[in-house]
Symmetry: C2
């Protein structure tokens, strides 16, 4: 006999979870469409070379490979995110109307160490919104507004959208006396700062042969907690940093017109994002009161990625909402009511005498759009009640021989136990 | 540079396909819920030993394995269908309220030879509805009614739900003088009959050391095209066949009460279904006028599967609607209208002077539930019109300095080219 078990870091979802997950996805879909984004999908399986070399070395090691033509150019793997496959798709489709605005909600896979309490799994859903073909900061603002509207629509309190710019991080790299080759190292180190202590980050930078003077200068800058205006003067000499700061200011201006409340977003110099492909503004949403829960979303501008597939050099920006992080957060914040079914009424089964009439009732209820179950066996009423109760179906409709004789139905309200003899039209009214 | 390409047998879906696919999934979800089914999901990745030994040898060879702990008990693979993972899930959850009715819509993977024109791919969506914990033929009838309601709801004409029973096929195996060990061989052969000629099937049976007398008797029975009543007397002596026929008659009785039109379902003695795990009624939907398109759905009763994971021996029955087959059929039947977006209106961008006012208009439209895009660059009007046209967005709203001065908006109907100067409330009315 085979031991039934789920793959480590992956999960089953029963209706009590799925009904909420479907609601979260529906909320996102509605908001995405409201902002003019249209759905796309790419396959879970991609050729390995399509995926590697875009995320950075650490991430590349976490890609799940298939046991398929290993070592050839046809070696295949499971996608690690949706951004790279989407860029591949855009590079293959030259006639898309630009700007091309899409959303994409699919599972992705990472051979990571699972940490369920933090909402970190090996198989999880990303819900991405991206716009290709525009350099306007209006798009960044729109994506941040979408993030706000989704999380607010799900009644998640006190989230904070942190915003930074890779151009500022480039500028900082210059400012501390390092050339462009070190930008990646600096980003990866800063990115770890919310998980590990400065000492550890400093050691990592030292191991990469970065001089102590530079490390100290970086430490100084990060610990000063400068606001945007202060940073602007601190990095006055550095052109790329000024450009990055101006972009953030522009985004903030649009967010204000769009009516996004100020307490929900902030500039954060220590936000870096781990992935290699970002080139401009970056963003990430945290729950400051629940720091152990990972980011609820993350994204940014990645202008060079599509060109890396030989496509036109199209400016791109996107954000990825993590269904599983959001779901974990909502669970831990007690935002998920107990729900096990969307069935509105169970029709009881009293056996042969009333089977035809009951089944006709079931048919009529469904034809009127009422989610209806018919108990499939003519077992004891007690058992049927208890099923209705356990499944939290709000009503039970009873059509026994007495009811049939009177052309009526008994409707039992499960919560109160009260029951009434009513006709079909009254039944429809009560259930609607 | 990496050649951008999709994995063989897998596909990208652009908005013009995805908007239809989402609609098909929504239709299914609505019908599934109307019949009292609730959503579940299982991971794409399963341990290999959970999957193998249930489908039959031919199918087992088509399972995609990951390059993960190969040769150990932790070897992992992509799920081949949703029925086996669902049975594994049920075996692991002892406290489900029975009968447990679930739907599950996810991609599955098969290392098969892709045949796009037939709707056969290596990565495709199955949309499963299953009920565990009831032996009543009411469930079979309900699943067939669901199939009818989904396909009818999608305006697919002339589909035919074929129904048979593994018990009848067992009976036929006895009738032609073979013992139970040959049921699988007989099923696999019959199952191939709609793809290959009888000669080929006969040869396959001969290769399995089945005597010519048995093969000829099988041929006779299949070519007589008996209806259910005729078959009943032909197999009068064979108890298991009588049981199977009685079940089909019961299902047909319920289908009639449920109001499913007779021309949409039929008994088919030559329906066998390839998978090993079926034990009772089986069903499959075809488009008889388009025989090259594979089955739109398939399912049946599989009473022993959950017990094979050490769970209780729970009677189970389910059906799987193939999104990709249905989508392929609808494409080939010209049932898919041209649609590229769900955006209702594009607000033009006239640059700095009216940017704030335009962005506020965009915000207000969205707040009123109108799917609205704002053109992100202040380019020539002609370019913005042409974008609106190419994306098939029905309306364009223009808020230039003239409109701003009058506190009005120009609304252009893209189809006719007509435009009107109106105020915001009129705009809302026109767009709603």
């Amino acid at each position: 006999m085979i031991q039934p078990r789920t793959f480590k870091g992956a999960r089953d979802f029963l209706p009590e979870q799925m009904l909420h997950r479907e609601r979260i996805l529906d909320t996102m879909r509605t908001v995405f469409k409201k902002y003019g984004y249209a759905p796309v999908e790419t396959p879970a399986i991609e050729y390995l070379d399509v995926l590697t070399g875009k995320y950075g070395e650490e991430a590349d090691r976490l890609i799940y490979k298939l046991n398929y033509k290993t070592g050839t150019k046809d070696e295949a793997a499971l996608h690690y995110d949706l951004t790279v496959p989407f860029s591949r798709m855009v590079a293959m489709n030259n006639d898309l109307a630009m700007p091309f605005k899409r959303y994409q909600m699919q599972p992705v896979w990472r051979a990571d160490r699972p940490q369920p309490h933090q909402g970190r799994f090996r198989e999880f859903y990303q819900c991405d919104v991206d716009c290709v073909g525009s350099s306007s900061m209006l798009i960044e603002a729109e994506l941040i507004a979408i993030t706000y509207e989704v999380l607010n629509g799900l009644d998640i309190p006190d989230f904070l959208i942190k915003i930074n710019n890779r151009k500022i991080l480039n500028g900082i790299t210059q400012y501390i006396g390092l050339d462009n080759n070190f930008v990646g190292d600096v980003c990866v180190s800063i990115d770890k700062l919310d998980k590990v202590e400065w000492n550890e980050v400093a050691k990592e930078l030292k191991d990469k042969n970065i001089h102590t003077t530079s490390i100290d200068k970086l430490h100084d800058l990060l610990t000063q907690k400068l606001n945007l205006t202060q940073l602007k003067s601190a990095l006055a000499e550095i052109e790329i940093a000024q450009e990055g700061i101006a972009e953030i200011e522009e985004i903030f201006y649009y967010l204000q017109i769009l009516g996004i409340p100020e307490q929900y977003f902030t500039f954060d110099i220590a936000l870096a994002r781990g992935l290699d492909y970002y080139t401009g503004p970056i963003f990430e949403t945290k729950l400051p009161k629940h720091p152990h829960i990972g980011s609820l979303n993350g994204g940014g501008r990645y202008n060079g990625l599509i060109a890396s597939f030989g496509g036109k050099d199209l400016p791109s920006v996107g954000t990825s909402l993590g269904l599983d992080r959001i779901f974990t957060a909502m669970q831990q914040l007690n935002l998920l009511s107990e729900v096990k079914t969307s069935t509105q009424v169970l029709v009881g089964n009293f056996g042969a005498d009333t089977l035809d009439a009951s089944l006709k009732l079931v048919k009529e209820l469904r034809a009127n759009g009422i989610n209806t179950e018919f108990y499939p066996e003519a077992t004891k009423m007690k058992k049927q009640f208890s099923y209705c109760d356990k499944k939290q179906i709000p009503f039970m409709a009873i059509l026994g021989s007495e009811e049939l004789a009177q052309n009526k139905i008994t409707l039992k309200v499960m919560k109160t136990g009260l029951q009434n003899l009513i006709d079909f039209n009254e039944l429809l009214e009560k259930l609607a």
